[in-house]
């Protein structure tokens, strides 16, 4: 199993240790609720926690979470055009999604209270927008994004890189 060993990643994690720990806990609990029975709770929780920490160690994921951390700190009117700060729910939702992706996204806040994930694969482009209660998917050739469920979204991203 991979461990967190590269200097740059370790440094990034160290700088944001508190945030990373909190973010690792949230999706762990989320997955535990979904998948784990009470008898194996402790063992499975530790495995998931380890897997998530290893995910952070994968190239680019620590950087994505660092950006997300900065987004979580944005205050009211952060864009000088009246944008709102982001709720802990949308940050947790975004974190949970990122952990399920095969590649780390570029992450941007929007002025419509959503967080945008961007993916590039050579000339191809894929965009996901995360709202409090929904997701949107957008790619080249579309006029506007379309609503999509979480599982389908993860498949879209992973297929995007597999193609």
């Amino acid at each position: 199993m991979e461990t967190i060993s590269t200097t740059s990643t370790a440094s990034v994690i160290s700088d944001n240790a508190q945030f990373f720990c909190a973010q690792v806990e949230k999706p762990s609990k989320m997955f535990i609720r979904k998948k784990i029975t009470h008898n194996s709770f402790t063992i499975e929780a530790n495995i998931i926690r380890t897997n998530l920490l290893n995910k952070i160690a994968e190239e680019g994921f620590a950087e994505s979470l660092t950006v997300l951390h900065k987004i979580s700190l944005l205050e009211a009117n952060w864009n000088t055009y009246g944008a709102k700060p982001f709720s802990t729910d949308i940050i947790a939702k975004t974190t949970g999604l990122i952990f399920q992706l095969s590649k780390p996204p570029m992450i941007f806040p929007t002025g419509r209270n959503s967080i945008q994930l961007e993916f590039y694969n050579n000339d191809k482009y894929l965009e996901i927008e995360i709202f409090e209660t929904s997701y949107k998917y957008f790619t080249d050739g579309m006029d506007d994004g379309i609503a999509i469920g979480e599982e389908e979204l993860i498949k879209k991203v992973n297929d995007f890189y597999a193609a």
Binding site: W78, N79, T80, M106, T110, Q116, E118, Y120, E127, F138
Partner: protein
């Protein structure tokens, strides 16, 4: 006050306040910078020089300032609405809104992407 009619040749300016909206890989604003639930606020150039616009924006401490030509917005059927703010601390006779259409406010993802790809950066902080 400026004339309501905005020509295709006029430029519209948008502040990018936080580095999180800057796409470092492509060295331009992300389309996220063009998504706003209240419509995309911009300043029209009006009778000013571009340098005046930059100076007026610098009090907001932006990391970058982007400009886009009105014609580019109209190519994607955006509606440009001159919307001067005539009183209060935010009074601004150059304030203009870019809307999806005459009836809808938020830009489509395609419109936002098009603007991000076709805007120019006129100022970038060190």
């Amino acid at each position: 006050m400026l004339p309501d009619n905005i020509s295709d040749e006029e430029f519209l300016y948008r502040r990018i306040r936080v580095e999180n909206q800057w796409d470092k890989q492509n060295d331009r604003p992300s389309s996220a910078a063009f998504k706003d639930s209240n419509g995309l606020s911009v300043d029209r150039l009006g009778e000013r020089t571009e340098q005046n616009v930059i100076i007026s924006f610098k009090i907001f401490d932006p990391i970058a300032i982007a400009k886009v030509k009105v014609a580019i917005c109209r190519e994607k059927l955006c509606h440009i609405k001159y919307d001067p703010i005539t009183s209060g601390v935010n009074a601004n006779i150059y304030h203009t809104l870019i809307h999806r259409s005459t009836t809808k406010i938020e830009l489509t993802d395609g419109q936002a992407k098009y603007l991000s790809k076709n805007c120019s950066t006129v100022y970038k902080s060190q």
